[in-house]
């Protein structure tokens, strides 16, 4: 059972007081009553943010892949998430009234950060009930999936000066997806997809799909 990743918001709380950026752009974009310290950050309400590739990947995972191969899925997820970020998500993210260009140098940094986040994420998943002494590799793969699914949000947090508030919901969506999917674990159907961590991976994908699709409206 797992929810995940509120480690990210935590970590960056200290940064959110950093006013250097906001001060460096004095009042150029203060047209309406936004507090000086917080330029508006939001994701546009558009159908464009729907991460359809996640459904495709899920179809591959459940129907095509050999015995729910989560590792291959992980490799496939990386390019798709980068493409999603550059083509869809980043183009809908508004920071201080404009859409920032994708900073290609930041992408590998964020990927690295995502990778690093898998460890706290793993710990959180264990804290929320995953087995410790066995299936640790599977749990880590699940953590990697969860973190990579959060990758667009991680990038945006990096790109928007670690303002976490608006992007927290994406992590929560993934976590809730995982959490709900746990329901199938106790069922006595003895299907192979009930094995750890398959239902949670599926739950995370669905959670991420819902989160990225309707996130801007929340």
């Amino acid at each position: 059972m797992s929810v995940k990743k509120r480690a990210t918001p935590k970590k960056s709380v200290s940064f959110s007081d950093d006013e250097t950026i906001t001060r460096s752009r004095p009042s150029s974009d203060r047209k309406h009553s936004v507090s000086r310290d917080s330029p508006p950050i939001y994701v546009k309400k558009t159908i464009r943010t729907a991460p359809l590739h996640l459904l495709g990947l899920l179809y591959y995972y459940l129907k095509l892949s050999d015995n729910f191969d989560a590792v291959t899925l992980l490799y496939l997820l990386v390019p798709f998430q980068i493409a999603y970020l550059s083509l869809q998500f980043n183009k809908s993210t508004v920071y201080g009234h404009k859409i920032l260009r994708l900073r290609t140098s930041l992408v590998p940094i964020c990927l690295g950060a995502t990778l690093a986040l898998t460890i706290p994420c793993l710990l959180i998943i264990i804290l929320l009930g995953a087995p410790i002494a066995m299936l640790l590799k599977e749990t880590w793969i699940l953590a990697a999936h969860c973190c990579l699914l959060g990758f667009p949000a991680v990038y945006s947090i990096f790109n928007c000066n670690f303002k976490v508030g608006n992007f927290k919901k994406y992590f929560i969506a993934i976590a809730v997806g995982c959490w709900i999917s746990c329901v199938v674990i106790p069922l006595d159907w003895d299907r192979s997809w009930q094995e750890w961590p398959t239902p949670l991976v599926v739950g995370a994908y669905l959670g991420a799909f819902v989160g990225y699709s309707i996130g801007p409206y929340l």
Partner: protein
């Protein structure tokens, strides 16, 4: 407040009415059976045996008799290989506890679920087989003399006039492995020397079952017990002649934990061996040919040699002793035994069984050529008959369900009326409906602990999202809960090897260090700084630690040296054998502890009445004193959990009073979740098999009172839940409130009442809808029993009665 009491009473009335309709007494046919097919021929058939010796070894699982790895029955193996014994694996119909199984073994009928409860409840005349036909009754009416030695359940079941000499032993002293069996065996030499004086000898040994309950199926006490039983069989075999049938059997099996009651493969697979020198003249059963006992191959479903139904023993005994098959029997005669008769006689016997089973006189099978198709047909009839559920009393079911629905709607209105906002009702409703819906799925009932865990992490996580700045508190709560979750296995599906309790069992030094810290800290922290109270707290905790350690020593569990020394010096001095001395001192020590805590509670109450009325620390002190009792009623590997409870409770209390506006509904909902979560993480499940009896005899002497044992059993099984119930009460009155104490109390009872009501509606409906479900007796009925006991014990007795007394004194 009075309205709520009325609601509670009505709710309990509803579920008891429903239970009375759901677990009805089975209608039994009275009177004696007679041969159903050609009685004239039967009367001329000679009985094949003159004497029967039935040796029931409680919980003798099939692999204990037949598997090379487990079995130490070397003499039985020798007989099996020689052909003087025929071995079978018998399917014991659940509930696999002694009383229903004995009914099955003697009457051949399928058990009634209520019997499983009566097995625990003890002296109840309603389970008597006085009027029901059984092979004992048949022996009795044929003027045979029956001598009985062993488990006194038999004496509860059958009227005394059936028996000649009797000596009953008690099945409830689970920690006694030897004496209980020696009390049976000591009669053997005299009985075997005077064989002319009896026709049937029944021996029922309990030691093996006790070892299972204490130490599991692989206990180190098992092999010596096997050898002891084996030597008993040898002793009997060597003393009797060809005319005697010796039947050795288990009444049920056990799972690897040593428990039984459920329907898993291990619990239902009991061993059976028919032994007689005469059997050597006939062919061995097909599956026993060409194999060498003990069997080297391990069978995962415990099916060794020929598999039959346990109740098949009944027509088999009836057949070989040539008397009518008992009326309610749905057994099928063991085909191998028909060899003992001439073909014509065998045919008559088989058809008699066939007609008795079908209840018809249809002659179409009369001209059979081979017995096997007939046997096959009888087996399928037997299966159908076994499936037919007992008659439900639909009138009572309807009344119970309707009253409960009515009560539930009133409680629902009350809840909405008494809550300050819908927000505080939300978690209660979420928990309630989540659990309620789960009652329709058998696997969710079996794995209920997962749902509670699922709910509790959701509560913790959502609380964190609400108050992100209290990260430490939330991490503390979650880590504590995670540790508790990893403490024991619960449910039926997954078994993890590396649970905390297993780890602590292997590292007993750590276990006892933790236990010592837990016992002392729970006592000392709750008390005031006053020197006298500190001293009494110290006294209570030392006594409790010494008792738990002494208990472990007498049960052969490893205890660190330093603690052993303390035990020997305090309890073990004075006698020649310190362990024996400790054993004798256990009961007085436990009594002293109960007495001390009771007196301390009284003193606390008196102090509260005289001087500091309204002192909020009153509940804290009572809580820590009752925790002493709870710890006494907890098995040693679970004790450190109370230490974690302490941290979690403190963290929750802080969060609740700081951020949640002291909302009563929220607190009580958290309490409800924790009560259930910890109940399951102490190792309990929704199966009768995991009812913990080991702590039900603390401070109880040989001539025990069933009510006290019942109370102690409830305390032992609900210990962590009682802890949390009182912890919530303590938090509730920690600060002065605007409302009166009774108003607070009334409101605080609502969430749990709402939960039990709604959950009850769904569970009862689920039981009615699925009354013909395959798992109705193995999953849903036990759940209903647990639900009733949660209601009666946890809700009515602890949460309402006990706590209201405390509040009244406050």
């Amino acid at each position: 407040m009075y309205k709520l009491v009325v609601l509670l009473v009505a709710q309990i009335f509803a579920i008891l009415t429903f239970s009375a309709g759901f677990f009805p007494q089975k209608s039994v046919s009275k009177g004696d059976a007679w041969f159903t097919y050609r009685p004239d021929i039967h009367e001329q058939i000679e009985p094949r045996f003159g004497k029967l010796i039935l040796v029931v070894v409680d919980a003798l699982r099939s692999d204990y008799l037949f598997n090379a790895e487990m079995s130490q029955f070397s003499f039985v193996h020798e007989l099996l290989n020689k052909g003087h014994a025929w071995g079978y694996t018998t399917y014991a119909n659940p509930p696999t506890v002694t009383l229903p199984r004995l009914k099955g073994i003697t009457t051949g009928s399928t058990p009634n679920f209520l019997d499983a409860i009566l097995n625990v409840a003890g002296d109840d005349s309603s389970s008597s087989l006085k009027d029901q036909d059984s092979w004992l009754r048949q022996f009795h009416t044929h003027h045979k003399k029956i001598n009985f030695f062993g488990d006194d359940t038999w004496l509860k079941l059958f009227p005394e006039e059936y028996f000649g000499e009797i000596d009953g032993t008690n099945s409830f002293f689970v920690s006694d492995f030897e004496e209980v069996d020696l009390n049976v065996t000591r009669h053997l030499p005299r009985q075997l020397a005077s064989q002319a004086s009896w026709d049937v000898l029944i021996l029922h040994y309990l030691g093996l079952d006790h070892i299972g309950h204490k130490g599991g199926a692989f206990s180190s006490f098992m092999p010596p017990k096997h050898r002891e039983m084996d030597s008993v069989i040898q002793q009997i075999y060597e003393a009797v002649d060809e005319d005697t049938l010796l039947c050795v059997m288990g009444d049920h099996g056990m799972n690897d934990m040593g428990n039984h009651g459920g329907s898993s493969a291990g619990e239902t697979a009991a061993g059976l061996v028919l032994i007689s020198k005469m059997l050597g003249k006939f062919e061995k059963p097909a599956r026993q040919k060409n194999v060498e006992l003990p069997l080297k191959v391990k069978s995962d479903d415990y099916k060794y040699l020929t598999s039959i139904n346990q109740i098949d023993l009944v027509p088999t005994i009836a057949t070989v002793f040539n008397f009518p098959i008992p009326k309610d029997s749905i057994g099928v005669v063991i085909p191998d035994i028909l060899q003992l008769f001439s073909p014509q006689e065998a045919r008559v016997k088989l058809l008699d069984n066939y007609y008795q089973l079908t209840g018809s006189t249809d002659k179409r099978n009369e001209a059979y050529e081979n017995i096997f198709p007939v046997i096959e047909e009888m087996r399928s009839i037997q299966n159908d008959l076994a499936k037919v559920a007992t008659d439900y009393n639909y009138y009572l079911l309807g009344v119970g369900l309707l009253v409960l629905v009515a009560v539930t709607s009133v409680v629902l209105i009350e809840c909405v009326k008494h809550s300050t906002s819908y927000f505080e009702l939300l978690p209660t409703f979420a928990t309630t409906f989540l659990l309620s819906l789960s009652t329709f799925g058998s696997s969710f009932v079996e794995e209920e602990h997962q749902l509670w865990w699922w709910g509790s992490i959701a509560l913790a996580a959502s609380s964190y999202i609400k108050v992100p700045r209290e990260i430490l508190c939330h991490v503390l709560i979650l880590s504590g809960l995670r540790l508790i979750r990893g403490w024991n296995n619960s449910g039926q599906k997954y078994v993890y090897e590396y649970t905390m309790s297993e780890l602590l069992k292997c590292h007993h030094q750590w276990l006892w260090v933790l236990n010592t810290i837990t016992i002392f800290s729970t006592q000392l922290s709750g008390q005031s700084e006053h020197l006298v109270t500190q001293m009494t707290a110290l006294f209570v905790s030392s006594l409790s630690l010494v008792y738990k350690a002494a208990w472990s020593i007498t049960n052969g569990e490893p205890v660190p040296f330093w603690l052993q020394k303390i035990c020997f010096q305090t309890l073990g001095s004075g006698g020649d054998d310190p362990v024996e001395q400790i054993k004798q001192n256990l009961v007085p020590t436990a009594r002293l502890l109960f007495f001390a805590v009771f007196v301390l509670i009284l003193i606390e109450i008196a102090r509260q009445r005289i001087s500091s009325r309204g002192d909020s620390r009153f509940f804290a002190r009572i809580h820590s004193l009752t925790t002493a009792i709870m710890i006494l009623q907890t098995s040693s590997t679970n004790i450190p959990q109370y230490l974690i409870f302490g941290f979690i409770a403190a963290a929750i209390e802080t969060l609740w009073s700081k951020y949640y506006g002291t909302s009563i509904f929220l607190l009580m909902n958290v309490g409800l979740v924790l009560q259930h979560l910890t109940f399951f993480q102490f190792g309990s499940t929704n199966s009768i098999a995991t009812v913990d009896l080991t702590n039900a005899y603390n401070g109880v002497s040989e001539n025990y009172n069933i009510h006290i044992v019942g109370l102690l059993m409830c305390l032992a099984n609900f210990a962590p839940s009682i802890y949390w119930s009182l912890a919530c009460l303590r938090a509730l009155y920690a600060k002065k409130r605007a409302s009166s104490k009774w108003e607070t109390f009334g409101r605080s009872r609502l969430p749990a009442l709402l939960f039990y009501c709604i959950f009850g509606c769904f569970l009862l409906a689920s039981c009615v809808i699925q009354r013909y479900h395959l798992f109705i007796w193995s999953v849903f009925s036990p759940k209903l029993c647990y639900y009733v006991s949660w209601n009666l014990f946890m809700n009515a007795i602890i949460s309402w009665s006990f706590e209201s007394v405390l509040v009244a004194l406050y």
